[in-house]
């Protein structure tokens, strides 16, 4: 299934998510044509079980789709919709086609089927029809809620470094479309964790594209009578870019492959740290090797580098996740350290996500 998904979605993105199209969508223009193509092919419901209207894809299958979205700078919440539908399915709710996003950073209360509170930095919040969040009841039980975006009474628009909408939405007694208990084994931070996992895959994809673009440029651009890639100073930098790309890829893939019914919290933390660090090093090297042309709007390098700079900070920076991880490690002491590392895939979600600093 994985290979098939990747082939199909790569073709779709190569046709539709051209650099000009991506640039045109920055600032909040909704990619209607691209989204219809994704929606019609059922990509946003891939992770939902067949009984609930999806394709029953595993996280490992979803990885290649989200990585491809990163590689092509896709200006739409594909990963967010996949995560939202996965969570709806886990809660026993039906998956939802159409435009859908998540509110990972939300302070929402649910009473009598109505939600109040704020959802911050909702990807494409201004554009989507619906969003999924985790709200709490008076009794303190977390609930998965599906909300109409139009039910929000306030919208504060905001854009990340890549011009992607990250909007705040305020709800006051808004009727929910559906809600259900957050299933056992998932923490209230499930969307933050899932969001971190999505960004790690997109970052890995963007770094692949960045490495291709930069290595190609170094082979073609001539100075001092030869390709700049033939100079050791350039080769050594590109080698580091390749290493960082490899590290980001494997870290992101591990996070998806080790997630199944739940999300592999520790592996996701590692993925977010490794990809965010790789994003910083990678963008810096790519710009350095490209010289001034890479600093222009015309040349598509910035479509990748600005996304790397945006995504490394979203759903927790490398520092935030490092701090959580380090606090948990120190809590376990040196005796528990190696056993923790060698069984990281089996670390419970609560162990990490509840570890707020």
């Amino acid at each position: 299934m994985r290979k098939l998904f990747e082939t199909m979605i790569e073709r779709l993105f190569a046709d539709l998510a051209t650099p000009a199209y991506v640039l045109g969508c920055e600032g909040g223009e909704w990619p209607a044509e691209l989204w219809s193509a994704l929606d019609e092919s059922g990509f946003t419901l891939a992770g939902t079980t067949e009984a609930l209207g999806g394709a029953g894809a595993s996280w490992a299958d979803i990885y290649v789709m989200v990585r491809a979205a990163g590689r092509h700078s896709v200006p739409a919440p594909l990963g967010e919709a996949l995560l939202a539908n996965w969570l709806l399915g886990k809660a026993g709710l039906e998956g939802r086609g159409g435009t859908l996003s998540i509110a990972a950073c939300a302070d929402l209360t649910l009473a009598d089927g109505h939600v109040s509170g704020i959802a911050r930095a909702v990807p494409w919040g201004r554009n989507v029809e619906a969003l999924v969040a985790v709200a709490t009841t008076d009794a303190g039980t977390p609930q998965v809620v599906l909300l109409q975006r139009s039910a929000a009474c306030e919208l504060t628009p905001s854009l990340n470094v890549a011009g992607e909408p990250r909007d705040d939405l305020v709800f006051r007694g808004a009727r929910v479309v559906a809600h259900a208990h957050l299933p056992d084994g998932l923490g209230v931070d499930v969307l933050e964790l899932g969001g971190a996992m999505l960004r790690s895959a997109q970052t890995a994809g963007a770094l692949h594209a960045l490495l291709d673009m930069t290595a190609n440029y170094a082979r073609e651009r001539k100075q001092f009578g030869k390709a700049i890639g033939s100079f050791q100073a350039i080769q050594q930098q590109l080698a580091v870019l390749a290493e960082q790309t490899a590290a980001a890829s494997i870290a992101a893939e591990a996070a998806f492959c080790e997630s199944d019914d739940g999300l592999a919290a520790l592996t996701i933390a590692v993925a977010k740290i490794s990809t965010a660090d790789a994003a910083s090093v990678g963008a810096s090297i790519a710009h350095s090797v490209h010289g001034a042309i890479g600093f222009t709007e015309e040349y598509p390098l910035h479509l990748l580098s600005r996304r790397l700079w945006a995504w490394r900070s979203e759903f927790g920076s490398a520092s935030l996740w490092s701090q959580r991880l380090g606090a948990q490690i120190c809590q376990g002491g040196s005796d528990g350290y190696w056993p923790l590392l060698t069984h990281h895939g089996k670390q419970p979600l609560t162990g990490l996500a509840s570890n707020r600093l």
Binding site: A215, G229, Q232, A239, A246, I250, I273, Q323, G333, S334
Partner: protein, 382 residues
């Protein structure tokens, strides 16, 4: 492109099942082994310990059963060695024989050579070193001058090797030497020999390192007469044989676990309630370590599938060396504890030792610049 060689691989359950056994063994034999000795990592020499491991069947375990091995898969060996390295067990005696020389002999050796060398390797009794660098041939390995000349039924070996780790503790060296004239193609005309280090005409002199330790050596060959069966593999194909070993040599967990003793001592020294900066750095180091482990496991899977991941192995080694070299740097910034050669606490002594050892990590087994050059070639830049 080369980068797609890295795909996620997990340790299969049958290999994972060995982990508890190794931990029990380590607990039984090394419970009181101090952090200052654990810090020696895979440079820690203890022949008795190697023999105990051999008796458990954990040396040369990937070799065929007919020669004393266990025909175990590479992941089984991976679990054993990463557990030993994480514990800082003294594995230096058998390390190179287990990692490199045993597999080389098994792959290129004659039946007679396999029967002669492999069982003793598997028992943890037979130790090997690798003769590569020479005084004027370090990174430029193809420029070596030591040579063996065929004389009737034997070979006459002359020349000098340098930086040969463990030559003073080993019974054998697998030496790369010139057996033909330097050709237009500079990688031709070299062969590998199994040199019995007790033969007349061999002088071994340890070279003290900057911390006063003796790990590497100069080795002189003065008209050393080698029997015909000392040649391993094919005459003139030494370079290809050496290159085939490199993926094994460069992708293992010893390329990023050299400072494990410091990392665990640091966690102890920080205690259960670190401040935000300390927690952040411990978390970040641990994330890098886990990502390196996943990269290393990915290369192991490629080796198991019979592929030739020389490019990917170079990525693991370079990134791993950068990581293990940064560890003492980060540690000394996190705690106001001065490193101590003697006196002070255990953490201070581990920090002092590994601060001094760190420069060697990116020299042994291929320098940073050589590795990055290999990576650049994989990117079709050269």
């Amino acid at each position: 492109m080369a980068i797609s060689q890295f795909s996620y691989s997990s340790i299969p359950p049958e290999a994972e099942a060995l982990r508890a056994e190794v931990r029990e063994f380590i607990q039984a034999h090394l419970a009181d082994y101090p952090p200052t000795l654990r810090a020696h990592s895979w440079m820690g020499f203890d022949a008795e310990f190697s023999k105990k491991l051999g008796a458990r069947g954990w040396v040369g375990m990937a070799l065929p059963k007919a020669y004393g091995g266990a025909a175990a898969g590479p992941f089984a060996r991976y679990v054993i060695i990463e557990e030993l390295l994480a514990a800082g067990a003294p594995v230096s005696a058998h390390w190179i024989a287990d990692r490199q020389s045993g597999p080389l002999i098994n792959r290129f050796g004659t039946e007679q050579q396999k029967q002669r060398y492999l069982p003793a390797i598997c028992r943890g009794e037979s130790y090997f070193c690798i003769g590569m660098s020479e005084p004027n041939s370090g990174s430029d390995l193809a420029s070596i001058k030591s040579n063996a000349v065929r004389e009737g039924d034997s070979w006459l070996l002359n020349g000098q090797k340098v930086w040969t780790t463990n030559a003073h503790h080993s019974q054998y060296m697998i030496a790369l030497v010139r057996t033909g004239e330097k050709q237009a193609a500079r990688h031709e005309g070299m062969s590998q020999f199994i040199v019995d280090l007790t033969l007349p005409g061999i002088t071994i002199r340890p070279i003290r390192d900057l911390a006063g330790g003796e790990h590497f050596n100069e080795v002189f060959f003065d008209n050393v007469r080698l029997p015909a069966e000392a040649l391993i593999g094919n005459e003139g194909k030494g370079w290809d044989q050496v290159t085939a070993e490199l993926a094994f040599e460069r992708s293992g967990p010893e390329r990023f676990l050299s400072c494990m003793a410091l990392l665990t001592a640091l966690i102890d020294a920080l205690g259960k309630a670190p401040d935000a900066l300390q927690a952040r750095e411990v978390g970040r180091l641990s994330a890098r370590l886990l990502t390196l482990r996943n990269m290393s496991l990915s290369v192991t899977a490629q080796l198991a599938a019979g592929e030739h991941p020389a490019w990917a192995a170079s990525c693991v080694k370079d990134l791993g060396n950068v990581f293990e070299q940064e560890l003492p740097e980060v540690a000394q910034l996190l705690l106001d504890v001065e490193p101590r050669q003697a006196g002070g606490g255990e953490y201070a002594r581990v920090l002092a030792y590994l601060t001094q050892m760190a420069p060697s990590f990116s020299l042994r087994g291929g320098t940073r610049e050589i590795l990055r050059g290999i990576i650049a070639r994989g990117l079709e830049l050269r």
